[in-house]
């Protein structure tokens, strides 16, 4: 069959070449005829001269589907020989997952390596490089143990990303996948890698939408809560408001789809967000002290905004002095020294362990009017 194909391809090539040669020769002849006709001042010969076959000028080659197919075939003309040569030399073609799936078998990786570097995919992954789900569960356990031991974020992040990659190319949406994303999200939260956390959160949303169940009961609620807190913390003022609203609506819709109301962690997150928006620093502090699981990492993001608001409110509401001892917990500081340092950085006047409100108002106004001095004192 290959021989017949080659023969027909050869024939087609010959025919095409013949056509070109004919066109070229006849075009040449036509040009010569025209030139001589002009010289003889005779009426110009028709563009298709009698001796040449019809349509004999070089027509512009139309790049239609047929021509493209022809060129593609020509490009692949040595593929047969190469394949034969490779098989003879014993170098096997690496089978990819896509090919395995096309063959009908359930596609699972064949690699046996417990750890793997993370590399972005530039081509279809081969079966030998991908780990099967069973092995991935063990990999996950290993990464968790190493993280607890070493707290090496670079290593953990790279390993988890490679596990995620293996799961994605095998289209796994089991609780294992959910567990991997949750683990990576928690590790990123602890390390403060917000970009990675957002990626994992988005991945979790995708998995939930595809119908995956949560690994530990209450973890869906937990990550909804983190999402809401992050939406409340990020972005400029106006963008943030609608992003928070959209996130809340999404969380509510997902809770409704799951059939349960908001769980305890989500309720806590909602109360925290409400307290921060109302500027109620007492309530916010009380809730932060009772933050479940890893919510305190997210609440730390909200603290600077609340601190600024509290400071502005104190400056406008109080008339005389306020002791630093009462102020420090309001501003979210654990020690008086840290509070005093921050206040002075804002331009406030702190004397004898008290905040002098009147003088501070002027100081803050002056500090705001001269922004280039801001970096002078430590924050």
């Amino acid at each position: 069959m290959a021989k017949r194909k080659a023969a027909s391809m050869f024939e087609r090539m010959e025919e095409l070449n013949r056509g070109f040669l004919l066109d070229a020769s006849s075009a040449h002849a036509a040009a010569a005829l025209q030139a001589s006709a002009k010289l003889a001042a005779a009426p110009p010969a028709p563009s298709a001269p009698a001796p040449a076959p019809p349509g004999a000028v070089i027509r512009p080659l139309r790049l239609d589907a047929q021509e493209a197919a022809r060129r593609h075939e020509r490009r692949a003309r040595f593929q047969e020989e190469l394949a034969v040569g490779a098989r003879a030399a014993g170098v096997g073609q690496r089978e990819t997952l896509v090919q395995a799936r096309r063959a009908g078998a359930a596609a699972e990786g064949r690699s046996t390596a417990l750890e793997r570097e993370f590399l972005r995919l530039t081509a279809l992954p081969a079966l030998e490089d991908v780990r099967p789900p069973g092995l991935l569960a063990e990999s996950l356990a290993l990464v968790k143990a190493r993280w607890v031991q070493d707290h090496d974020y670079a290593y953990a992040c790279a390993q988890l990303k490679s596990i995620r990659q293996d799961l994605t190319v095998q289209h796994v949406t089991s609780p294992l996948a959910v567990g991997v994303y949750e683990t990576h999200a928690r590790v990123a939260l602890e390390a403060g890698d917000w970009a990675e956390f957002r990626q994992c959160h988005a991945g979790l949303l995708r998995l939930w939408a595809d119908g995956a169940d949560e690994v530990v009961p209450g973890s869906a609620d937990e990550f909804e809560a983190y999402g809401v807190l992050l939406a409340a913390a990020g972005g400029a003022a106006s963008r943030q408001a609608s992003a928070l609203g959209a996130e809340l609506r999404g969380a509510a819709a997902r809770c409704a789809a799951r059939g349960t109301g908001p769980g305890p962690m989500l309720r806590h997150a909602l109360a925290s967000v409400a307290a921060h928006r109302a500027g109620n620093w007492r309530e916010a502090a009380r809730l932060a002290a009772a933050a479940p699981r890893m919510a305190s990492y997210c609440l730390d993001l909200l603290r600077p905004g609340l601190r600024d608001h509290a400071f502005a409110a104190i400056l406008s509401a109080y008339a005389t002095e306020v002791e630093l001892g009462t102020l420090a917990p309001w501003l979210g500081f654990a020690t008086l020294k840290a509070a005093a340092r921050w206040l002075r950085g804002q331009g406030a006047v702190v004397t004898r362990g008290c905040l002098d409100v009147r003088a501070s108002r002027q100081g803050v106004r002056a500090r705001r009017a001269a922004p280039e001095c801001n970096g002078r004192e430590g924050a």
Binding site: A241, S242, G245, L248, A274, N280, H309, A317, T320, T326
Partner: protein, 424 residues
Amino acid sequence: MSSIGGLVHSINDCINRRNSARLRLLLQVNNSTTQEAVFAARNANPRWDPVAAANRLPEGWAEFLALFWACIVALQEGKRGEAYDKLVAALQPFIKARSVEGRDVFVFREDSEDWVVPLMHSMVHNLRSVAQAADQELEAAGKPATRLGDCGDQLRKCFAVALQAPGNQGKRLAALDVVNVSIKTYFKLNTLRLCKNLTRTVVSRQFAPFELFPVSQRVTYKFYVGRLAVFDENFQEARESLEYALQHCHRGAVRNKAKILKYLVPVQLLLGRFPSAALVQQYQLQQYQPLMQAMRTGDMRLFDTTMDVQQFTFIQEGTYLLLEKLRLAVLRRLLKQVHAVHAVAEPGKATQIPLDWVLAALRCQTAAAPQQEEEMTMDEVECVCANLIYRKYVRGYISHKNKVMVVAKSEPFPPLASISFADG
């Protein structure tokens, strides 16, 4: 008439006479005439092919209507996903030009008159409803629902064509309806940031003047703009848009008015303007009644319990963050009452309210609340009072040493309407 021949005949008639009112009805997916005709044709011949029946129609229309009837066939067979795909395929000849050997083909794009505008309206409404039905089917089967997202993309194409208005500037009048349907789709998908582009285009100069569009579309658009403004915390614009919608809404459209009021009432409450009892009764606004009561009497406990119980509902409607802002108004009312009582008890020191009194007031309100494990302390009171002064709800200052709040002699509690909307 319930035969396909009769249907073809009447469509031909409409095209020739440019009768858009009748053709618009015939192009709706749930139109009874169309449904009956297709059903009869399928009954007569189980392998009936719409392409053959549409042959007698002019070019371009034939292709479009063949696919449209194929969509109806799929709907009648219960295959909604397939119906949606056919409808998307029908959209292509509808909005694109197809020059057959140099001749122009008359459907939406090429027609030199603007009678095709109502037809575009039918098509976009069809798209959305069929997409939603297809998604319902997918969700019931447990598969991810993607059709509505695809519908958003298709609507964007329709919007581009309507904006470009090839052939006749009058076709620009199709645009607002496409915008409305798109926004409705984006609300369903919860991708609200995509609405911003649309609203920006509507106010830009390349859009037709707003007043040229029919009232119903203007009301719908202003309603959506108001809702988006509530999400963005842009309350001034929310109030203006929703009031416009309410004013121009048709007198008999009670359900629409109820929807508008559901979002307008919280915005007005921020201003301290309450709806009358008759309005509440007529438009089912009972969900806001406890909050209004709390605002009138300064009852923090009622406010907190209502927000707790209705939290979920308010979040889904998008009014939760807005209603949380009313908390400060309730506290203001409470402080006002303490001030009044104190003025009667100690007329000499009327403007100097001891913070202990405020603490007592707050304590006796939250005494019965089960979730308050710790008691209210002076810190809470000072926090509340500082916030009230900072937001200009109360005019005065706090003396920390004497634990007293000194309020202004005249107008210590300015009316809510005078305090600007712009809170941080």
